[in-house]
Symmetry: C4
């Protein structure tokens, strides 16, 4: 029985069917956001979406039965399991006021990443690049925090909307770091009250963009470093070593011939 | 006859003349957008533009006659053919209300790319780099779509203009990704109604810029990888191998001498 | 006595305790910016912050006693010393109106960088990359200055707010370089008075972004150059040299055998 | 006489004096833009600036006398000559209404680049990198032009301010490419009249940023390519070749010994 199910669940056509269900589900969730479409086929879409969840759950149950504990040894399977489990978070009835619950449905589309090998590789590459930049990000957060304390201490009274608390200031600083309207919205009105506040903005923008530049350079250099590492291990310098090995043997033959003489 | 036409169409001066016609046509189309200029020489410009189309068509007809089916074997020729064919889309009379038809005329200037080898190389390089980033772009679109469903589900009621439907939300998210006015136009007014919506903006900006960064890094790393591949094939490590080959022969001579003794 | 203190100050647990105090101090300074929190535990936070300063000072005093003059030979120690010294800048009483003094407290959080090796490495890398881009930055400043003189000379009368003096113009140019609202806020209103001013904006944006691009490329190329330098020194080409050395000895043996004959 | 002047003009102290004069002149031109400073020492500044021009002219005259025609063989000298010549463009009296003439004074500060070797190297590197990206820039201009014709043809009637003529449209497109306010200022108001105009904006932004990305990647890859070229010529692979040469000689000795036997 277990063997039969394993063959069934690993069958190419079954997998493609599940893939199609995932894509249909994603499109249906998108269509459900159009009120005009909801009026006509809203009920149908809701019902098929529920059918999708049933199919996902059956697939997951079969996989759990077939692979047992081994199923959870792969990180991607765990991720997949969570995505299916989230589908059962109640959204209607008494819970319909929790908008956040309904939002979780959209996450089901992430199952595509689990299913498509190429997407999985890219996501894995992105995740693996995180530790390399994690310390630089910690530095960025620290610089952020120090500037946030400074900004709040100095400007909270005059600009409570932007610098009222650490949280507000950090959001404002994030907006400034993305260079969004920093001049006309923040810096210029402030410079009319605190003429030397340009120093605060200038030092923050230069510091943060220099650190971000370092993060980006780090990612690029890492990626190139990996290429050159891969190159080295394949390098045909080893060809030369093989040639040298042959030469050595040839000379050893010559030596033996001489010793015999 | 066919041979004569082939010599004629591949003649350097004829090619330069066609190039000049393309450039004149592009400039004339530009001048036609100035009403003040149109008043004086508008008729002349229109007539010469039509003459350009005639010249292009004759050139294309000769090429088709000379090269026959082989003409369509090159992708650039197909592209060129389509550009000339588009010139005959009707724009005046009954069709003058289809503004989009008149716009297609501007595409004729793209013939310059077909004609100038250096531009063709760059365009080819850009097109060839697309498959390398296609999966990363698919991932980006998927993330986009999930955020769009989330955003529409949560904010459609309060902000119908920006988050009214999946389409509108995706446009808004694109605007946010380009960091254009995201703070003052979208995030701040929304945070007054949904105080925790900063999480939505922050996670979207960080996720999308990280993926975009990966796309850019991918393009750079690919370009550098190609250089290092080219380098390797030229590398004068092969010089060393030639030298080793010579050494081997020398030792073989020594061995033979010894064996004779 | 000095030996005992040295063991004490270099003890792992003591160091972790100091680290915890630094982090607590940073969090407390953040909490102090929330008026609602200040009301309840403001006094407690102020007192513990003062206790933190005492602990930092004692730690610093012990280190000065233990290491003597050698303490100041390390740049990081000097930086640490300054951060602790700044903690004693008066902020209350007669000095409470000097807001800038209170701001300096936030700098204490920078002690984290001194304490965490990984952060120190990143900061050192960033500092070391500065000389490589210093000249390019000088060039950028020079171009800035020339455009600032030009802008002030031309537009000071009509736009005193943006171009009233070299200082104002440089701030405006910085805002334009970050591409923040340059079109709608600066260029378009100005083009109504000075129609050819788009030339000023275009040339400034292109020049400055080209130089900035060169700075970024410089940083990336430097980082990659260092990798390839490190690679070369580790390269197993040296393996080949060792092999060649062995071959030489083998042949020398053959030669000796022949000479004996 | 000529020899004496040559020694004088190439003297280190004389050169440093000229450098100081250039810097003083730049600062004085900056100070002259402050009306409050002009009131007090404006006359003094004007007179010393004129003295600077005299000094520059004398220096240039000596150089022309000393080096003769050879002076113009170096591109930098030509540039320097033009900068000094520009200083004599009349700005006062009848010409005082030509604001542009007064602006040219600021260019004198560029003499710093001619004087400082490091700045000259950077500028030379930037200039040398231009041909590598020139074709990509031509492609960008072509794409620009085509989009400009399209935009003007489609939107000139409804948005004469932004799309009234090719020139206006190109400026608008440049602003869109820098992602400055493109959403709220251009795209959203237009989408209310032409609902499908998002296609125009999206395709332009994606196309132009992809080409710009290619230009940047080109600059980076070129810079890295140059490094790897330099590396190769220095590479100690040549060390291996020297070693192989020695081995060859050793074996030749062995061969000779054998032949003698």
């Amino acid at each position: 029985m277990r063997e039969k199910l394993k063959v069934f669940i690993e069958n190419k056509h079954v997998n493609n069917f599940i893939l199609a269900v995932i894509i249909y589900n994603a499109i249906a969730l998108g269509l459900l956001t159009y009120p005009s479409i909801c009026q006509y086929i809203g009920k149908f879409l809701h019902q098929t979406c529920f059918a999708c969840v049933i199919i996902f759950t059956i697939e997951m149950a079969i996989k759990l039965y077939v692979y047992g504990k081994n199923f959870f040894k792969d990180g991607w399977n765990n991720f997949d399991f969570i995505l299916v489990a989230i589908s059962w978070v109640p959204t209607g009835g008494a819970f319909s006021s929790f908008r956040a619950f309904r939002v979780l449905r959209a996450l089901r589309a992430l199952r595509l990443i689990v299913r498509l090998r190429r997407l999985r590789i890219i996501v894995q590459a992105i995740i693996e690049s995180i530790p390399n930049v994690a310390w630089a990000c910690l530095l960025l957060v620290l610089i952020y925090y120090i500037f946030a304390i400074m900004g709040t201490t100095m400007y909270a009274e005059s600009f409570p909307e932007y610098y009222g608390s650490i949280g507000k200031t950090m959001f404002t600083l994030f907006q400034i770091m993305t260079l969004d309207d920093w001049g006309s919205e923040f810096a210029r009105p402030m410079m009319e009250i605190y003429p030397s506040s340009w120093l605060f903005y200038l030092s923050f923008i230069l510091t943060s963009s220099f650190i971000v530049l370092n993060v980006i350079v780090g990612v690029i250099v890492n990626a190139i470093g990996e290429i050159s590492d891969r190159d080295k291990s394949e390098q045909h310098t080893s060809d030369i070593e093989i040639e040298l090995e042959k030469l050595k043997k040839q000379i050893a033959v010559v030596e033996n011939l001489l010793r015999k003489n």
